[in-house]
Structures are given as C-alpha cells and as structure tokens.
C-alpha cells in the first residue's frame, strides 16, 4: 500500500510519539530498579520535542495527507495538536509532583499519558471515520486505565469502571453512527463524504448517522445529556488524572468534532446545527446551575468544564471560520485557566493530607496571599470578567454566534455565564472575605508554582496582545473551512439607517 516513504512524513510526529511510547514501555519493563522518574523525564522531554516538531514541520500553508488519505496534517490539526500536547505535558508535570507525594508514582502513568496523547493526535488528524475511531479508542483505552490508576482505592477504581462502561456505550453509538453513514454514503473517507455532500444529495440515513456521531463525541467532551459520567469520574479519579481529563481529551475531541462537522458534513450545516445548538445550550445551563450545589472542588470543576464545553460548542454551531477561530481561542484560554486552577487544587493539602472541599480554600488570602491572588484571577477569568482572558474567549464565540444570527444561543450563553459567575465568585469570596479555619500547606514544587503563577499572569496580560493567539487560531480555522473570515456581516437590526454611504 505505502509506496512512497515520504507519504509518512506528514505523520512524523505521531510516528515518533508511538516510538516514544513503546520505547518507554520497554525501558520501564526491562530496566531494573525504580524507573519511574527516568521514564517521566523522558516522556516530558519527548512531548516537548514532538511539540517542537509539530511547529517546525514544513507545510503550514497546505494540507498534507498521509496513510493513503486516512490522515491529514494541516494548520488546524497542528494548532489543535499543540494545544493537546501542551495540556498533556503540563498536567503530566503537575502529576509527577503529586504522585510522588502520594508515593504512587509508577512508570505506567507517563506511558499511558503518552499513548492517550498519541490517540488524541490521531483523532485530530483523522481524515477518515475509521481513522478517527482508531484514535478515539486508543485515547479512551488509555484514559480508562489512568482513571483507575490508584487501583487500591475504591473510588478510583469505581471511576475507572464507570468511565469504561459508559465510554464503551458511547463508542458503540459512535461506531453505529459511522456504520450508518457508511451504509448510506458508501464511504468513510472525509474527502469522499465531502464530494457527496457537495453534490447536493442528502439521505436521512446519513444525517441520522451524523447525529449518532455527534452523540458519541459529545460523550467524550462531556456535553449534556452525555455528561453523567463526568462529576463522578472527576471526583473519583486521582486529581492529576482529573486535571488531565479536563483539558487534553476535551481539546482533541472538540477538534475532531469540528473537523467532522465542518469538513465532510459542512454542506449539511443547516441540518446538524440545531443538534449542536441544543447540546450547547443544555451544557451551558446545566454547567452553570448544577455547579452551585457542589461542595467538592473537583465536582465543581467537572460542572465547570461541562459549561465551558457548552461555550466552545457555540463556535462549532456557528459553523463559520469565525466560529472555529472562536472555538480554538476558547480552547487555548480554557487550557491555561484550567491547568492553572488544577495546579492549586493539586496543592490543596493540610498537614500533608490532601483535601478537596471548596470550603478548605476559606481565608486563603490570609495564609497564602499570592496563591489566593492567582486563584482569584483564574476564577474571575473563568467567570468571564474583562479584561481577563476568559472574557475574550467568550467574546469571540459570542461574536461568531451573533454574526451568524444565533441570537438565542448567545443570549442564553451570556445569561448562564452570569449564573456561573456565582460559584466562581463564591470561591473568591471564601478566599478573601471569610475567616480561615486552618491554613493549607503552601504550594510547593516548581511545576505547580510555575503553572499557577504563570497561568494567572498570562490570563492577566492576555489583553495586551490578543493578536498572537487570535491570528494563529484564524489561520488554523481558515485551513479547516477553506474560507477567510468574512468581514463581520453586521446584523441588520444593529445597523443605523444612515451608517452606510
């Protein structure tokens, strides 16, 4: 099949990633002694090298296929992969410190992260439903295992089991949708599906298949009503795993969803949009309301992430270049906010014992003013308060929705973000205005401190130069949709009668 060795070149990062994973596995298994620290360090370096490779690969300007068209490498894929790699790398760095404290650091952990990341990269670059499914499964299998990583802890194993069973169900839905599409369209290749869609022919079977695919991927991004696993798994899984779950897989799955929806099924946008809009609205509302009743900070972050996915889905619902740009900007900012927040959550310990209640943060501003300030910035940003970065994330997706006439979506988004602001600000209130019960241990370790303070700083200063991120996201979005960002079509209702010459 593969005649030209150069045809593998676009997939070089993935190939290297696979080799890295297997090499580390060999090292871990066959090397004597405690190999975990070594494996971890190599895995981190490997992730960084792969990220560097993704950046430095030639051909940013055009899409390069590989594996006979099953795989594509374009600017969109690279952008999403960089975000994913960053998410994996940062959470891995945070995890090492935490696991070492728990005396639970084994070499399997980084290896599983590497394989999961490889799966995500495959998802992002998939150009065929089968390739996409392969990526999803590779990722999922690794995630099931890391969820149950603390195998002598019942909560962790319960989380892993729940995730596995429900994940299998979702995979079934996904696969069922794919087979429907294949049955009615006769192909699983994105290019083939695209030309079929372009021809104007539509069969209800294909569309129902698309809805199933959306459902399957919605499970992966924990969008309502496929979100039920999220709070339980987030709470039960070891905290670094939760941190990992909340960023990298979400980014990859949303990127895959965006690619599937825009690339092969782009011409059907008007058909599937209502489904995405519905899921987005439900996610935003549930994420906002359910979080209010939570006491555990990890559960809170679970609902928070459900809400954030709802906002990100607005970008896909718009279906325009502007929408995809908004999605990517949102994901990048979400990544920073979430990783920063988890850096603090991972450090929440009292006399060495880890604590997870929201009220444990009470009075943090007295005992650890700097950490409290950074956390405050992150919470304000999550709530979308200008001029912090979180505001811009929401701004770009809302803009895309407004410019596409999705007013209901935008209005509900704004209203639910008001509700969501309540529980973010409650944390700020606890930290700054309530009397501390007992001081938490200070944030220790280079990685958590770097991520927490660096993240907060980046969130603070984002507004000085939003162009860097937005321009990159725009280039990536153009690569996916093939259309430049339209000069914002101002809705007629906003036009004053004399504005146009």
């Amino acid at each position: 099949m593969i005649t030209d060795p150069l045809a593998l070149m676009p997939a070089l990062p993935e190939v290297l990633m696979a080799l890295l994973g297997m090499g580390l596995l060999m090292t871990g298994v066959f090397r004597k002694g405690d190999t975990a620290p070594l494996v971890c360090r190599v895995a981190l370096i490997g992730l960084a090298l792969v990220a560097a490779l993704v950046i430095s690969q030639p051909g940013w300007g055009h899409a390069a296929p590989a594996f006979g068209g099953l795989f594509v490498n374009d600017a969109f894929a690279r952008f999403a992969k960089l975000l994913t790699l960053a998410g994996s790398g940062l959470t891995l760095a945070l995890a090492l410190d935490w696991l070492a404290r728990e005396k639970d650091l084994r070499f399997e952990f980084p290896i599983l992260i590497v394989f999961a990341t490889l799966g995500m990269m495959m998802m992002i670059s998939a150009n065929d439903l089968m390739a996409a499914y392969l990526g999803v499964e590779l990722q999922s299998l690794a995630l099931y295992v890391v969820a149950a990583y603390q195998r002598d802890n019942t909560r962790s194993t319960e989380a892993g089991l729940k995730y596995f069973v429900l994940g299998a169900l979702a995979s079934g839905l996904l696969l069922y949708g794919m087979s429907l599409v294949y049955g009615f369209a006769g192909t699983t290749n994105f290019d083939g599906l695209r030309s079929l869609a372009d021809s104007g022919e539509v069969s209800t079977g294909v569309l129902v298949g698309v809805v199933f695919i959306i459902a399957g991927l919605a499970f992966k991004v924990s969008a309502v009503p496929f979100h039920m696993w999220t709070p339980d798994v987030y709470e039960g899984a070891p905290t670094p795993v939760t941190a990992f779950f909340s960023v990298a897989p979400k980014i990859a799955a949303l990127a895959l969803l965006a690619r599937v929806m825009i690339d092969p099924f782009g011409p059907y946008t008007d058909d599937w949009r209502q489904v995405v809009v519905l899921i987005s609205i439900l996610s935003m509302i549930l994420g906002a309301f359910a979080a209010i009743a939570q006491n555990n900070i990890k559960r809170l972050m679970a609902y928070s992430s459900i809400g954030h996915v709802g906002y990100a889905l607005i970008g896909i619902a718009a279906g325009t270049t502007e929408g995809i740009r908004g999605l990517l900007v949102y994901l990048a900012i979400y990544l920073i906010m979430n990783v920063g927040t988890f850096a603090l959550i991972l450090s929440m310990r009292r006399r060495g014992q880890r604590v997870e209640a929201i009220t444990d943060l009470t009075g943090l501003s007295r005992t650890a003013p700097l950490s409290a300030a950074a956390m405050g910035v992150l919470m304000f940003s999550m709530a979308g308060i200008p001029p912090l970065a979180g505001f811009f994330g929401k701004f770009y997706v809302f803009m895309a929705a407004i410019n596409h006439g999705l007013y209901t979506l935008a209005v509900i988004g704004v209203l639910s973000s008001v509700v969501a602001a309540f529980y973010y600000l409650r944390i700020v209130k606890l930290m700054f205005f309530d009397e501390p019960v007992e001081a938490l241990d200070p944030v220790s370790g280079t990685a958590p401190r770097l991520v927490l303070y660096g993240g907060a700083l980046a969130i603070c200063l984002f507004f000085l130069a939003p162009g860097v991120l937005v321009t990159g996201a725009e280039a990536a979005a153009v690569a996916l949709t093939g259309q430049p960002v339209a000069p914002a079509p101002v809705p007629s209702s906003l036009l004053s009668s004399t504005a146009l010459p």
């Binding site: 429900l166 496929f226 039920m228 209010i292």
Partner: protein, 643 residues
C-alpha cells in the same frame, strides 16, 4: 488681594480645625479659627473703607470655572458697596459669634468640629455675597445650606436635631429648585449668568417674553418670581418658613449667626443684588411686597404666643425678614439692606443674650420657668434691653432708623400693595413691642418660677461671652445713627453707586417727605405694645389667661403657628411617606426583589438541587439518560429537520 483674603481665610481656618482638630485640641482649634476670622474681619473693614464711598466696583477674577459653548463664567470676587457692606456685617458678627462660642461651647466634646463648621459657613456666606455670577452665588447659597444643615444637626445624637436639620435642608430644596429654575431662565433670556452682562442687557429685555409650561410669560416676571422662590426658602418667608423655628435645635451661637444675622438674609441680599432685574417687573415687585408684609405680620402674631425663648426670637427674625422684603418690594433696596445690617447686630445680640440666659438657667429654654433674673445677671439683662429696644424701633437705637424708614417707604410708595404693607407692618410693629416686652418681663421680672436648685446656680456668663455681646450692643445702638445718611439718607446715591437699582426721585426720596403722623405713628404703636406687655405680665398677670379663655380658637390657631406644620404634614409629608412605603414594600420588596434577585435566586437554587439530585451515582441511570437523550435528540432532529 484683600477680597481674596477676606473670603478664603475662614476656609483655611475651617480646614485646619476640621481636619487637624483632633490633634490640635479644643483650645488651639478655637484660636486658629478665631484668628483667621479676625484677619478676615480686618480685611473686610479695610475693603469697605477702600470701596465706599465713591469707590469703583471691581471684580477679582480667580480662574475660569466653566467654559462650555455659550456658557462661560469664572470664579470671581465682586467688590462693590453692596458686597463690602455684606462682607463687613458678616465677618464682624461671625467673629463675635466665634469668640462667644469659646465660652458657650466650652463643655462640649466636639469643639473643633463646631468651630470648623462656623468658619466653613462664614466662607460660604462670603462666597455668596461676593459672587460675580449666578452660578457662583448658587455655590455659596448651597454651601451655607450645607453648613446650616450640619450645624442644626450638630448635636446629632438628638433625634429632634436630626429631624430639624433634615427639615431645614428639604424645605430649602424647594426654594433652591426655584432658584435654579430662575438661573436657567436668566440664562435662557440673556445667554449669560454673569451679573455685569445681565445688568447691561436688562433694560433691553424689559418687554421680552418667554414660553414656559406652554404659557407665554413676561420674561422678567418669570425669572424674578422663580428667583424669589429661592429667596423665600432661604429667608424663611411665608410658606417656606417652617424650617426656621425648628432650626433652633442647633446651638445658640448657630442660631445667632446663621438663623438670625446672616444666612437667612441671603434671600434679601439676592433680591437686592438682582434689583436691576426686579425693577423691570411690577408683578414680581408686588409679590415680593405682599409676601414680605404677610410674613412680617404672621410671624409677629406667633411670636406673641410662644413659650420657648429662642422660638420667640426666631419668629421675630422671620417677621423682621418680612420687613426687609417689603422694603425691597416697594423699590427701596438700600432701606432693605440697611435693616438687614442693623437687624444683624441686634438680633445676634438678642440670640446671644438669650444664650447667656439659657446658659445661666442650666439649659432651660421655657420662659414659663424663668422670671426674676434681672438682679442675678444684670449685664445680660441690660444687654437684652438694648437688643429689645433696638428691635422695637425705639429711638435712638438702630432699629428705629431702619424700621421706621421701611414703614415710611411703604407709605411713600402710594401703591395698593405698599399700603397693605404699611398697615401690616404697623400692626407687626405693635406686636413686636408686645412680644419683646413679654420676653423681658417673663424672663427677668416677676417672681422666680424655676426651682431653687436652678436658681441657686444662676450666674453671669464668663467674660469671653459677655464682651462679644457688648460689641453687638454697640452695633445695636450706633449702627442706625451712623449708617442712616449713607444707606438711605442724602448720601445714598453716591454710597451705593450702581450696586443697587436707585435714582434721585425714587421711593426712598419720597419717604423723607411723608406726613408727620406717619413718622410718629409707629412710635405710638410701639409704646402701646410695651404698655400692653407690661400690663399683661407685670401689672395684671391674670389677664393673659383670661384673654386665651375669651378667644380660645384664635389663641390655638396662633399658638399652633397657624397650623402650617400640620397642613404640610397632611398634604406633602404623609402622602410622600405613603408613596415611599408603597414603592419600598410593594414595588421594590415584592415586585423587584421577588421577581428579580430573590426569585431568580430561588429558581437557581431549586434547579441546582434538581440537577445534583439527578446525579445518583448509578451506572444504569447514567446509561439510561444517555440513551434517552440520544433517542430524544434523534426524534427531535427528524421531526424538525427541514428535509
């Protein structure tokens, strides 16, 4: 330079005492404020003698305040005979009150605050009288209102003082609303708020009309009436007078300085200052005359019945302000200002004398529990006599010159309103004599009605309180004699120059040629009033009670201050409270809070509980939700899909 010093030195004193008072302590705060005040007084007197007579009116421009399109005006101090007379009067009385306060307030815990307020008030008052434009005048106007509010409520732990302070502030708002509308009207007509420009353009506007509330008005009448509403509020004229008696809740020096001598005369000053406008509207002048005359009469009747020594003097003030207004109303502006000046001295004297009595009587203010004090506090007794004689208008005291002149100009105007004013003024003069005598008899003569402990305590006030009284008494004796020629006599044209609207053949000139009976009648009426007072309260002490029994309705009506407070309470206050309570309980509490914050919060909390209860932890529930969700979405999709 002198003007700047005169106006701003009290401000500096106020700031030092106000912000550093705690560290300076009582004594130094008093020294600082009195020192700056004395310097300001010296500057004012120098300024007065440099400006009059025949001095040129000038304006010291400080800096630009507003320059916005057509509207432009500066912070500027206007120096002319009118403003220097006011400067001199205000600073002199203020200085004496400052000094008096050292003694009167010595046992009070908030001395620096009190002194700072007094100085702050003086600054605003000086700003008012030296203003070069209407907006700056309004600045001073509001500033003295603020100082008045702060000082009435000085004993803020007393609910009655707070209520009185709020009442004064709110009633003044009504007047201020008229004043602002008047300023807007003037700006609309003239396109400027600068006094010189307005006066220059005024004669040309005599017949201008403006449309207001859909009606075509004579422009000058409208503006002047609106401005006069402001003057009525500040000067406690009939209808807007209710705050003044209550303002006696403030410490006595405050009553003397603000609510007798200076601030309440701001309305008189304002009308005199804008006399070139007022003379252009006969209607406005008639209104001023009638309101003034009515107030003079009405307040005098109430003064005859009150028991509180300070309230008697307060109604007397109200009445005297009425005299000033009807003098202005008939066109004798110099006469009005003349009475303003003399009144400032003898009324401050009366108030401070009353303060001295109250001080001696261990804070007793009810005259029914006084009596027989004259031997115990002879100096105060003599000073009170001087003040009362000046108030009654007995020659040669100051009040004689100014008050008789007012009655003469009212007579000489030969107009209908002037005649009414003359008659009401004459009646008020009789009553003034009666209540002044009543006050003196009840307080100083007869048998002591206070209990023995209080009587044993009665003592003459310290020297720091007596000397200011002596100074004021000198003013009450000599101010009329000295000022007569310049203010209203032969020299008045040269003295006032262009500061007031006047000419050689105006009503003031005619007043010097009225029939002899007009000049003697007030004296006869006054003598009758004194005699009646003596009869009622010394010779036949059973008479007052019998008169009250004979005319119970009339007595109650007058004693209850013509039921103004009750009327306002019924018409304005209670409905306002009802509306407020309705909007608060129903509008804000039930509707806005219920549907808004509280309602939304309840719904939110409910939803949060529902959502988290749905999270059962059972795997099959989760799978069920997923499947049902998918089935629902697919069904909905197929039903709504366009194809």
């Amino acid at each position: 330079m002198l003007a700047v010093g005169a106006v701003f030195l009290p401000l500096i004193g106020a700031l030092i005492a106000g912000f550093r008072g705690r560290t300076l302590g009582d004594h130094k705060s008093q020294m600082v404020t009195c020192g700056f005040m004395a310097a300001s007084t010296v500057a004012s007197w120098l300024l007065f003698f440099l400006t009059v007579p025949g001095g040129e009116a000038s304006s010291v421009s400080l800096f630009t305040w507003v320059s916005s399109g057509e509207l432009s005006f500066e912070w500027a101090l206007r120096v002319d005979p009118l403003s220097t007379v006011m400067l001199m009067t205000v600073t002199t009385i203020s200085l004496l009150v400052h000094v008096y306060s050292i003694g009167y307030m010595h046992h009070d815990p908030g001395v620096p605050r009190f002194m700072a307020y007094l100085s702050l008030f003086t600054f605003f008052m000086l700003m008012l009288v030296t203003s070069d434009n209407l907006v700056q005048m309004f600045f001073g106007w509001e500033g003295v209102g603020l100082a008045s509010y702060l000082l009435i409520g000085y004993w803020y732990e007393r609910p009655s003082a707070n209520a009185a302070a709020i009442k004064a502030f709110v009633v003044n708002r009504v007047g201020d609303f008229g004043f602002t509308l008047g300023i807007f009207g003037v700006f609309m007509v003239f396109g400027t708020v600068n006094l010189d420009a307005i006066f220059a353009a005024a004669p040309g506007m005599a017949d201008a009309t403006v449309s207001f509330l859909g009606i075509e008005w004579h422009a000058m009448t409208l503006c002047c009436l609106l401005l006069f509403v402001g003057a009525m509020g500040k000067s406690a004229q009939l209808g807007l007078h209710t705050w003044l008696p209550d303002a006696m809740e403030g410490p006595t020096p405050v009553s003397a300085l603000i609510h007798a001598a200076t601030m309440v005369t701001a309305g008189v000053f304002m009308v005199a200052r804008l006399s070139p406008l007022f003379v252009l509207s006969d209607t406005a002048m008639a209104v001023v005359t009638l309101v003034g005359a009515a107030t003079a009469f009405f307040a005098a009747t109430i003064g005859c019945t009150q028991h509180d020594i300070k309230r008697v003097i307060a109604y007397s003030t109200c009445s005297q302000l009425g005299y000033m207004f009807f003098a202005l109303g008939v066109g004798a502006f110099g006469t009005g200002i003349f009475h303003l000046m003399t009144h400032a001295f003898f009324k401050a004297l009366l108030f401070l004398g009353a303060g001295s009595v109250i001080h001696a009587m261990s804070d007793e203010q009810d005259m029914r529990r006084m009596g027989g004090l004259w031997k115990l506090i002879p100096v105060t007794y003599v000073l009170m006599w001087i003040g009362s004689l000046a108030l009654m208008g007995v020659p040669p005291f100051a009040g004689f010159y100014s008050k008789d002149m007012i009655l003469e100009v009212a007579f000489a105007s030969h107009s209908f309103t002037g005649s009414i004013a003359f008659l009401l003024g004459l009646a008020a003069a009789g009553m003034t004599a009666f209540y002044s005598t009543r006050l003196l008899m009840l307080t100083f003569h007869g048998k002591p009605r206070a209990n023995e402990r209080v009587m044993a305590h009665v003592h003459e006030s310290p020297r720091v309180m007596i000397w200011p009284l002596v100074g004021l008494a000198a003013g009450a004796v000599f101010a009329g004699m000295l000022g007569y020629d310049a203010f209203v006599g032969e020299d008045r044209l040269a003295f006032w120059g262009t500061a007031l609207a006047q000419h050689a053949d105006d009503v003031t000139a005619h007043a010097h040629h009225v029939p002899g009976w007009v000049k003697t009648l007030p004296l006869i009426v006054t003598a009758a009033g004194v005699a009646l007072g003596w009869l009622f309260y010394i010779a036949r002490t059973d008479l007052p009670a019998r008169v009250c029994e004979r005319f119970p309705e009339t007595y109650r009506f007058v004693f209850n201050k013509w039921y103004f407070d009750e009327l306002y309470d019924r018409i304005f206050i209670q409905p306002a409270f009802r509306i407020g309570r309705g909007l608060w309980k129903k509008g804000d509490g039930a509707v806005i809070d219920g549907l808004g914050p509280d309602g939304v919060a309840t719904v939110t909390r409910g939803l949060a509980r529902v959502f988290s209860r749905g999270q059962t932890g059972y795997l099959y529930h989760y799978a069920f939700v997923m499947i049902i969700g998918l089935a629902g979405i697919v069904t909905w999709f197929l039903l709504t899909s366009a194809r």
